[in-house]
Assembly symmetry: D2
């Protein structure tokens, strides 16, 4: 009754440890701050006139989210932490070699020397190893010695950054970049038209199901953001988050509900600057060194949700910055990408 | 207000991917099966007269738990999956060199060539790379393409193996073995008597907080088990599990409640064979390549729980197989280890 | 800052204690049984060739759900328990007087002398006082002395009946009937067209938000069912139920999500016989003796859900038995009734 | 297999609708306010120098909790809402007749004409009918038309008052008083010594399992409080509350765990004034007009919890105001009553 298959695998690359920090651009810095600090319960650790650095209570780093005043919403620098100083050098050399490198910087708040580069679609990324560990001031110290910061009970109380979904005009190229240059493991894919049209790919450098996703930019843009995702420990926390968002007049685009792809329990809203933010739980860990990517075709994909909830058209059409024009290519009958 | 510290780290070893399978010995095989299959909701994938192989619905491997008929309860073979064939060879050579190696086998059900060895305390372990991926028969196929098996809704519905806690007469030696020979990262420790008495250490080869713990065997035994732990996705699942266990006459030793160490949400019961089993959720992932172990002394440790619940004396005194005699060394004022 | 208003109220009627039992008609008795027993986890307490009597683990009565083989799905007898023998006589006399009475019977399984009647729309109802208290056999006895039956851990594990929603061609008339003849308290209403078009009304004889709802039969039928609702204690149980239903091939029409009206956390599926069944939690208790009904107009009503989830057209168009023909009156822009 | 028993019942009294408001005395008014407002998330609706009036977000009345500065902690006035003006007069006359009446007042904040009286143990109570309905100011208006106030997301976010447990030197007398004079239905009892020693009784005027409990005052005091209990909708909310309390240095006496009696999911802490407060969910509704009280003897009672958690000695010995002296009568082997 049990059908068996044997796994084989080459030696995996292990140079990137995790997603370190994401910079969101916002034309409404103060309102965006209200969303992340007062509603989602994040802490502000540093402020300037044009930017704010924040963190979730469970993040061990000094800061994991940067909000920057900008004319349009979107994603700024995306920072990945290397597994060692040597790993940082190896990745910098490899990126330099393929022509995606930009160069070294001293690092943004909380991070040491960083190598900046671009992904093929034009998103700005960097790799670093040295990181400031967060040490809480008196009022924010946790009663738990293994928790970097007090759980304050304010608003949603997101624990940590989970992942990032980027729009890309050519998903396949960017996916291969992340696999080969960054060493990410491919976890799931949505591929339409008999395997010819790669709609989305979900990848990770660690056990978290995905820390980076590329999904098709149906408007043919470049360097755009689909969403940024923050973790809470239980599905009940996501339900409670929905109440808090609605009570505060925040528009909910979709959820809470459960994706089929990733099995993630999702809640999508737009922060006041316009960026799509997900509050997220569930999903599953991947520990297999030779994980076989799960691929979904049109029929298997269905609505992109598990229980049948429909995702709105905006979920495919809208990204930040928002750009004019209809979908370039006749969008396949993709109800959604995840 | 923000105090900073810079992290540094050598290149980490990355040869073990995850805990693969645990063998529990039971003098009551049929009753133990009832516990794991009917109450915890695991599936039986293979049977012989003297053994049964089981799995959680979310495990990707063919089997993750083996129950073996034996005169006394306890832990049998503990199998770790390597990250690659080369990693397997490297670990085998290293273990052979320090004299802990036993030799190669063809592997138990579902696994290929395996290298057997002992830890310093005498527990039987093995490393392997080749693994049978589970492929569900018709009635057990999930509606989710990325879920190896249907969630049946029977009983607790544990998702997967989480970790194993072993008793050891000399925690420090066994902890160093796991760090140096297996490459596990040390996550937390309980150390009493001004740093001189290592009561427990929690380690992992991946992002899961701990997949292996060594805690002091207060009776001076060898090769004994403290508990085997199975994961559910939400704390609510643990609460529901407690109802199911009590309704079926299973003795609950402690919980549901929350540890301070590991932040795990725990529920301990004894399966009918006598082994302590934990149903577990919560805790936190560790992604830092240079994680600084969190160390708890007597005062910080308190009762070992976060909200103040007491753990019973049995939690320190009882392991499997049970052995006669009082605590060898005057047990320190340790209320519990986790 | 606090605006105040004084409440006044006449003496409320208190003759009906609660919804006692609901009979569902099904053309697929065995498959319906599979749904309620194997998936929802109810117990069968009595069987004949053409009917089965079931119960939730928390129901104190012998049976609260009857499944009857019939050519078409729909709702059969709806039984209400009186608060006393005298209350039963009072209600029977009042119903007789207005011409809705049918007559006395000896009562169906588990109930004593019952007075049968019709509501204005033609649904069959009855009132009774004498009721068989459930006493569990050995294998179904709970470890909790105050729980009538063991929580078995099978499937969803619904606790008890919550409420019933009936379609009615004239909501206002049937609502007044329930208020005046049965003494139910009106809790919420959806009224469109500047108060002229009563789309739905939610009522109860006790603290449960509603045990009876009348919603507009857009096809102009009579005696039809919108849905029957079963309670679970936590929202997490509803999420888990959705997984169980999908894993077993049951179509989910809507949810899990949260209604604005009633604040109920809902999950709608069709049992194999065709009847819409809700798995339900949340909502709120009403204890005010002079509760002021909450009324929603088109704009306030929105999608009928709290977080923005859309309800499908079938939620308005489909009831059991299903009947031909389009909506009689041009259905107002009602996305849904609750 | 089904054993049956027939229920009979006299006409039940129905003059009290629900627990309306509880006054807690505190020697630390500002700190108590911090606990209820900042940690538990209640709103302050009125302030004077020596008192504050609060409410849960789901309470329909203007205020349900009054905090009053006093030399010692304890319970002040306990207000019950009548089901009608006539019911109020009936209860006042009955209480006057048995000599427990004190007299009429104009009512405290938010309530109209009130009849004050004492229970046999000396607790101060009152009955009223007229009540100010809460109408939220702009910033506190809910997006839900049927929710009196916004769910703010601050701290625990208790929804409403649930119940009150009073200490009494003679439980049986006070229990009969509540049954006969107030018309409460007896739900559960703990009776030791072969039925001769009534340790605790749980009662209610509505479907909530209990709104009033009397438990033995083992120190022989009078008019003392065991605990005041506030409701949250899900067990997960109680777990989250425990984190919030510990992170803010509040001592947790017991829980979160599940009682056997009432099936309540409990969390007990002391507010800074010294009164024991419970955060509560779960339990079960009672709708039977002829409910048969569930009685527990010593053996059935066990530890008073369902999963085996022990309750501390303080749970029996401590009430407010705290009084000197040991237990008067040799306390029976009662682990707890709550």
């Amino acid at each position: 009754m049990l059908r068996l298959s044997w796994m084989t695998s080459p030696e995996p690359l292990h140079d990137i440890a995790h997603l370190g920090s994401v910079e969101l651009l916002t034309p409404q810095l103060e309102k965006s701050l209200w969303y992340f600090r007062d509603l989602l319960g994040m802490e502000v650790v540093q402020r300037t006139a044009a930017a704010a650095w924040l963190r979730g209570y469970g993040d061990y780093a000094a800061s994991t989210l940067k909000l920057s005043q900008a004319p349009s919403p979107g994603v700024g620098g995306i920072a990945w932490r290397a597994t060692s100083p040597a790993a940082l050098e190896r990745r910098a050399a490899a990126l330099q070699e393929v022509g995606l490198g930009i160069g070294w910087t001293n690092g943004d708040f909380g991070r040491g020397r960083s190598f900046r580069f671009r992904d093929p679609d034009g998103h700005h990324m960097e790799i670093y190893f040295e990181e400031q560990r967060y040490e809480a001031a008196e009022g924010l110290r946790s009663a738990l010695k293994n928790q970097p910061q007090k759980y304050t009970g304010r608003g949603v109380g997101v624990r940590r950054t989970d992942h990032l979904a980027l729009l890309a005009s050519d998903v396949a190229t960017n996916r291969r970049f992340a696999q080969e240059l960054l060493g990410f493991q491919l976890r799931e894919q949505v591929v339409f038209d008999d395997g010819k049209n790669e709609i989305g790919s979900w990848m990770s450098p660690n056990a978290i199901h995905h820390q980076l996703a590329y999904v098709a930019d149906v408007k043919g843009g470049h360097g755009r953001l689909h969403h940024f995702s923050l973790w809470v420990d239980n599905r009940e926390d996501v339900l409670r988050a929905a109440d808090i968002l609605v009570e505060n007049g925040v528009f909910i685009e979709a959820g809470p509900s459960k994706h089929n792809n990733s099995q993630g329990f999702y809640l999508y809203s737009y922060e006041p600057g316009g960026n799509r933010v997900e509050i997220y739980s569930g999903s599953y860990l991947v520990l297999a060194p030779d994980w076989r990517p799960v691929t979904w075709n049109e029929r298997e994909r269905g609505t992109g949700t598990y229980w049948g909830a429909a995702l709105p058209e905006s979920f495919i059409q809208y990204g930040t910055p928002d750009i004019a024009g209809e979908a370039q290519t006749p969008a396949p009958d993709l109800s959604i990408f995840y």
